[in-house]
Symmetry: C2
Subunit: 157 residues, 2 copies
């Protein structure tokens, strides 16, 4: 867990990029494990309280997305089910399942890196998030997207 506190001395863009880099670190763990490289962290008051990376192959479980694990971990850290003062940082735009999960968490904000053109939830339905959840896309989009491209290029070799 990272206890560096960004609240006092960083601007919002820097803060988003900082936490997206932590989500990218998670994505790289997925890459190293030969999983589709998506990573996520949940941040509350400047601290990482949950993280996860895609483990669908290792766990033989299509529900083991980075976001799902980060949500579960964050709720365990908080000792409460809801993530009302939290932000989810995820390297790739969430799918319908993860957007639906975020609804139940009532997470305050979702920040994603690269857009997911095929199965990103905004492509399917813009209105799947909780009304209280703010959405920001495009933070370190190129780095987040490049890791995915590298994975699929390697896979085809």
């Amino acid at each position: 867990m990272s206890f560096y506190n960004f609240e006092e001395n960083a601007n919002p863009q820097q803060e988003d990029e900082h936490f997206m880099r932590l989500a990218l670190n998670e994505a790289k763990r997925a890459y190293d494990a030969q999983e589709i490289p998506i990573g996520a962290v949940v941040v509350c008051k400047g601290k990482v309280i949950g993280r996860g990376y895609n483990l669908t192959e290792q766990l033989n479980d299509v529900t083991a997305h980075a976001e799902m694990q980060a949500f579960t971990a964050a709720a365990q850290t908080l000792g409460g089910k809801y993530l009302k003062d939290c932000t989810l940082y995820v390297t790739i735009e969430p799918c319908v399942m993860c957007a639906g999960a975020s609804y139940w968490t009532q997470v305050s904000r979702i920040v994603y890196g690269a857009k997911e053109e095929k199965r990103g939830f905004t492509k399917i339905n813009q209105n799947l998030l909780h009304p209280k959840t703010l959405l920001t896309g495009g933070i370190l989009a190129e780095e987040c997207g490049s890791l995915m491209s590298a994975f699929f290029i390697n896979k085809r070799k």
Copy 2:
């Protein structure tokens, strides 16, 4: 696990009601544990290969829906991520998260009991399932819905 094989000697309606009763048994476990009473089983070739009931309170995890657990259990039983020749029986119409999860499993069919008027996925978006997934609603709807009503009436007391 139930190994009663329905393939040879039951009509489809009887088969659906049989397996919905098993999902109802799971829902009753949730009820007894003071959880919102929703239960699910995944059936493959006449056999239950996964089951689950809502555990969001006990696990302090909003993603711990009956369907999610049944999907994960079924994949573990099969040793494969996809549930292509399987049917999910669930007492209440799935939410967006669970419909999104079902997309990734490619489950052949979803059978639900009672409609969920507020957060059922068909209310939000009819097209969240995998194109190969068939949907049937209304099997033992009254029993499935009554268990929910009883739970919420008791909760208000």
